[in-house]
């Protein structure tokens, strides 16, 4: 597979480490009332869709960027690649 890195251009997926579902970005608020339940979901539950899947790829053998990649699990077609830090900010994460 080839992942089109937003900064570096097309790179072979062999340079990356697959980090699974990008839902990892949505770390629950530990002070929420139902924090325990939320953390159980966050820690253990993942969707396993046949189709588009939003996932994290870590450019470990490259610039160490975490990328959010939208990949169809049935065709390996990649429809979008973004820097994870940008996506995280978009989801309201900051400091």
């Amino acid at each position: 597979m080839i992942i089109n890195h937003p900064i570096l251009g097309p790179r072979d997926s062999a340079e990356f480490t697959y980090m699974g579902d990008a839902a990892l970005l949505d770390r629950p608020d530990w002070q929420a009332k139902d924090a325990l339940l939320q953390f159980v979901d966050y820690g253990y539950l993942r969707d396993n869709p046949a189709g588009p899947h939003i996932e994290l790829w870590y450019h470990e053998q490259g610039d160490r960027s975490f990328l959010v990649v939208t990949r169809d699990t049935t065709t390996h077609q990649i429809s979008s690649v973004k820097l994870a830090s940008d996506v995280a900010r978009g989801r309201g994460r900051s400091k």
Binding site: I2, Y42, Y44, L83, A88
Partner: protein
Amino acid sequence: MSQINRLGGGQIDRTKTLDFKFDGKSYQGHDGDTLASALLANNVRLMGRSFKYHRPRGVLTAGSEEPNAIMELRDGARQEPNTRATTAELFGGLTAKSQNKMGSLRFDFMAINDRFSNFLTAGFYYKTFMWPAAFWEKVYEPIIRKAAGLGSISFEDDPDDYDRGFLHCDLLIIGAGPSGLAAALTAGRAGAQVILADEDYTMGGRLNSERFSLVDQSGADWAAKTVAELTSLPNVRVMARTTILGAFDHGIYGALERVSDHLAVPEVGKPRQILWRIYSKRSLLCAGATERPIAFENNDRPGIMLAGAMRSYANRWAVTAAHNVAIFTNNDDGHKTAADLHAAGVSIAAVVDIRQDAPLSEEYEVIAGGQVVNSNGRLGLTSIEVSLPDGNTRALPCGALGMSGGWNPNIHLTSHHRGHPVWNEKIAAFCPPDNGPAGLSVAGAALGNFTTAEALASGACQANAILKDLGIKQNKVVLPLAEDAPANMTPFWYVKGCSRAWLDQQNDVTVKDVKLSHQENFISVEHLKRYTTLGMGTDQGKTSNMGGLAIMAELTGKTIPEVGTTIFRPPYTPTAIGAFAGRDRGTDFRPTRKTPSHTWAEEQGAVFVEVGMWLRAQWFPQAGETHWRQSVDREVLATRNSVGICDVTTLGKIDVQGADAATFLNKIYCNGFAKLLVGKTRYGLMLREDGIAMDDGTAARLAEDHFVVTTTTANAVSVFRHMEFARQCLWPDLDVQLISTTEAWAQYAVAGPNARKLLKKVVDPEFDLSNDAFSIYGLRQYHCVRWTKSAFV
């Protein structure tokens, strides 16, 4: 022994005679021969035994689709099993052995299995070895294991190197027959970056196997001339002996180049094979087509082969399997073989054509509306039985029989991404699917364009369409005029009433087995494959699958496309594991990391342990110590009572800098770091999100905005990965940067009551090591040395 089956002409070099051995007996062939063509030249038709019934078998094909003539090549550490004699290039001194026999090839003791064929039908193992259960491990399995498998391995290390390489191109052309060459010429002259790969050692595909000419030159000459031009173009890479194994994602193809398989020993500095990863913008499949056999009773005797292969042997290698040959065909192409062999001086016993309106010949007999219903000859064909249209049967003596049941496009790569092949009624074969791998086009016989003129034209046309897509100026190449006769064909898969008629010769699957499997309710074609083993093995059913599908279709009352095909998967042809391993063998399997004191430790006779790819000195045995506990106990006591030094460079070290460095560490450790004073070190524990301990180490504060974190040796990579995740994905706005400095700093732990005394000897006097100046968990930087004092190692 003389080459009594050698004909005139051909593309072999008669000035170079090569000696080789088969089953211990010496023979001679010529440069340009394959092992199979050289054996046929020497009148060797018997080349192996079948897998299950140990029936005598000869060569069926002239290419990589070969199911029968698979052999063990070479001796000693280079011995390799299951190699197809049809693709093995002959070299001087080659030794080959037949496989799958007990005793000699002519008298195989396991041939008794053939007598019990009524019991050894499809599903025999599943039905027979069920009871008693206790028998499985002790009795059945050892016997089956002994009987199973094909060739044997040497159990020695392969002395050759295997490499891996990476290539990039605009257009990858797979196959260098007429369509591939026309495409390469078109794209190459237009200036595109082209890779042209072909599994054969001589490019040209069927052009080398046919007698017709392209205007004023032979097909082989045109191919050679074209390849020479392509080789001269700097933007074209011509790769012979290179098989494209599979179509992977995003235009990536796997390719195996057999650099030295045709040599007794690779040249110095050259690998045996290279596994290439080819990154292509576009690709064009020009893989040609494979001929289909026809199933009839006892159709597996040595001497019975595909008619197109016979033509290859005659025209390319100047060889005939026998001097009296019959043809069994359902199409016009079979007649070409008869004409070519006749022209080469081979006597044609008859052409048996299932069609009433078969084209007749003045030179030899054509039996229109006839069928071959049986064959005779224990170790090789001696005669066939032909049923005539009038209902009589006639015996026809012959030493070889060419079968032609039509041709199947080689569409394998087009369904590597699960694309479903499309049935083409006109050629009664599956053609490439519409939903093949993105960027892959198909041309020539692989697309069902079977005439040479069609192949040339479609290759050029597809190449131009690709050039247009890539924004490269198109190029009109003038192609030579070529034969354009449609090969009329009437689909015919098997002779009615036959039972021991082989569909899959490698796995000994007969028409009877397919019928039995249907009778036992195996309806899906994938189940048929697993139950009967049809289409498994080294040839993956390249010559056999269609026959099985046709019979299944008939039994179920469906059409062939309704029955469907099994899915093709990579690799296209068998590939040595060594090629996948490449250079990653032995100590090169992964990097070895050595500490700064490694050489010294080695000199002291240290025993090393591998941790996180590091070699770490575990203990230092001294004279007289016979057990590791003796060495370790001595070292522990020395440290407790005096002083000990340990090289802890292997610990992970991560430099953390930025205005929010302290905030960041506060978040990733379960204990606090915000209040850690500059010049102090603190122990830290990291937890996973579910509260389980992940790693521990120390963090030292060098400045307000500068920390150094240590990790355990084994978790250095995963902790750094986790910290990057936290920095980029959880708190993207924190002002903090991370650098792994594990290998930038040597690290030593000095412990024991005399630690300070020892250190005093190595530091300058002004460096105060007193408790007041250098307190517990204190941190000092002195020149390029950092000192921490801690109660944790």
